[in-house]
Symmetry: C2
Subunit: 396 residues, 2 copies
């Protein structure tokens, strides 16, 4: 069980110095045999609430995304049963308690800010007989000429996004949530990622770039408007959102041939700081109108940030991606890339305009290739401990 009251709020508040000292035990187990300090791995994120955790949550260090297929013969009642199991176990695991049929309860005592986020793919609505409640934008993205999609990383009827600051916690939660539902679903794909960031900076991807700078800030009116569905036309979805998960292979061999200047012109930001070429700090707004003494734009119009930048107040979303690094193919050095994860209230009006611009042209496309693509709606959170994620859809 988690130490009662050792919430992240407390870690970040009055208990910071004591808990901070315990931070030194990260990875220094040989030097921390006294076992008397509170442990930052006891920190928890809420499961119950108006929204599911794992979206506005400060990104944890590790993720596993699992795509599942509903097995033949599964009906609406089975889906409800599965979501009840998942919701109950997610509520327990995220608070540092064993799942209902948990066989390794000792692996649950370090929640390490575990979040479990549940999503639905398009076909779930058909199987559950709730087609009329399916958002119009919940369908595979249109084909883009830049795509080289591998079906092994595409689509799926159900999603689990499992994040925590410790890889052991993620591994156990993945297993605990997968093994209880094998009669109803099969694993379609598993994608694992990691992210690390310097204090005051966004994470770095494996090109070395800071990644995810232009994000609405959690807790602001902008964030609430852009990320959480307001229920318009789909009352069941109020407080929910959507996820576009793109697996983007990064050609590090070719990228390595590009010098720093070339990289910065391709991205539109300084590599060292993440600042736009017209600014000094990562958080500075890029000035796309700035020109040099020859009248040439300082940030090339073909650069990634120029193409990706929102053109209005709607084509914006939350980026919360992770790096991946898998075993290379024979003869290759790397098999690396980004699990690009975009969250928005409406995929059609917010995500697709940006994706279309980038597919049409983005200097970075030379070195990146989308190899996987999946879309999910993420139902709202639940506040009733007896409820389950998806209840507003399946009992509406």
């Amino acid at each position: 069980m988690a130490e009662p009251g050792l919430t992240r709020r407390r870690l970040l508040g009055g208990g910071a110095v004591a808990a901070g000292a315990a931070g030194l035990t990260w990875g220094t187990e040989h030097f921390a045999r006294s076992g008397r300090e509170p442990d930052p791995a006891a920190a928890t994120e809420p499961f119950h609430g108006r929204h599911q955790s794992g979206v506005a949550t400060a990104p944890q260090r590790h993720v596993t995304y699992l795509g599942f297929d509903l097995k033949p013969g599964v009906a609406r009642a089975d889906i409800i049963g599965l979501l009840q199991i998942w919701s109950g176990d997610a509520a327990r695991l995220t608070q540092g308690e064993p799942g209902l049929a948990d066989s390794e309860p000792e692996l649950t005592v370090r929640p390490a800010r575990l979040t479990v986020t549940i999503g639905f793919g398009p076909r779930l609505f058909t199987v559950a007989g709730v087609e009329a409640a399916r958002p119009g934008w919940l369908r595979p993205l249109p084909a883009f000429t830049i795509d080289r999609l591998d079906p092994a990383y595409c689509d799926g009827d159900l999603l689990l996004q499992i994040c925590a600051d410790e890889a052991t916690t993620v591994a156990h939660a993945v297993r605990a949530l997968s093994r209880t539902v094998t009669s109803l679903v099969s694993v379609r794909w598993v994608q694992r990622g990691f992210r690390d960031a310097a204090p005051g900076q966004s994470m770095r991807n494996l090109f070395g770039q800071v990644d995810g700078t232009v994000n609405p800030a959690a807790g602001t009116t902008d964030f609430d408007r852009l990320i959480w569905h307001d229920g318009g036309g789909l009352p069941w979805l109020a407080g929910g959102t959507s996820l576009v998960l793109r697996r983007i292979a990064m050609n590090l061999d070719a990228w390595d041939d590009l010098d720093t200047g070339g990289r910065e012109l391709s991205v539109g930001r300084r590599v060292a700081t993440g600042a736009p070429l017209t600014g000094a700090r990562e958080s500075d707004d890029p000035d796309f109108t700035a020109v040099d003494q020859f009248g040439i734009p300082v940030i090339p119009p073909s650069s990634h940030i120029a193409r990706a930048h929102h053109t209005g107040d709607t084509d914006r979303f939350l980026r919360r991606g992770y790096n991946y690094d898998e075993s290379p193919a024979p003869g290759a050095v790397s098999n690396s890339g980004l699990l690009f994860a975009a969250y928005q209230a409406d995929i059609e009006s917010q995500y697709l305009p940006v994706q279309r611009r980038l597919a049409e042209f983005d200097a970075l496309n030379t070195w990146t290739t989308p190899v996987g693509s999946a879309v999910f709606v993420l139902p709202p959170g639940i506040t009733d401990p007896g409820g389950y994620i998806g209840q507003s859809l399946l009992e509406s």
Copy 2:
């Protein structure tokens, strides 16, 4: 560049409170925008020294082991060149500096206690023409009836063991060290692992057990005697050691059918605390002579710790393993296990007696299967910044 002087010694000493507070920024990047605190990821481990780092080093959270094959036509001079490249780049990367031809220097500023440890497989001695200097025990382990070895995880001419507390650091070091030597070696296998531990406990494996309790403590006479080769008969190896890397698949589905009592009798320890069945704390010595009121041994003679326990003062070694968790095969729930890593001065007299006992009988064998096996000699460290790992062998 690493912040000068922010060594682990300082983190663990006088600077603990300030650095500890920064420990809270792990995974809480959204809440740490000020960027003013020192960052625990700046902590470094030495590269130069009498021994290679990564053995006595307090285990970091992440590892990638890479096995390489020497390409046809490679000769001793090429091997020396490769080891010079690796030694130079390892010295830089571990201190938070870019490798010589590093294309992503910005990924080197968070060394996060990075260590790079270099090992030689049996065939390297043949290719380099130094057969006479090969330790007699440097050969594939004898076949055990419990083994179900997959050649994809066996053997290799060269080893890199790359450990750090951040996965991004490991990923970059793997690439930086692999890409510069593609003309000389090809990647034979890549094995990734992770470990997390509560303060005052050893890591837990994915069976939920604490793992690696019975270890000689770094810095003791026992450790020095058991782990570091004294150069007897092989002067070039003084201060070096060896690694047996076994990939051990763990059948979590079958393990989940076993109750807590059954697990504790199989292992000989309490699951919750890691204490032997005859003790109260993980660090307590097991009492194999203790019997219950019926005269039955409290720790079953068939249990893992009874079988694995050293019978004398020589069959001991250092365990420094990592968990692995990969994508499951179609229809399966998990593909998990342990990267069992044993370090000892002499494989024949220290490791093999234990391995033979366990292969003959170990209650845990019901749930575990060795699927990979590789042995390497780890040359001594170097103190000369102009030297290279393996110099005492290749220039002797």
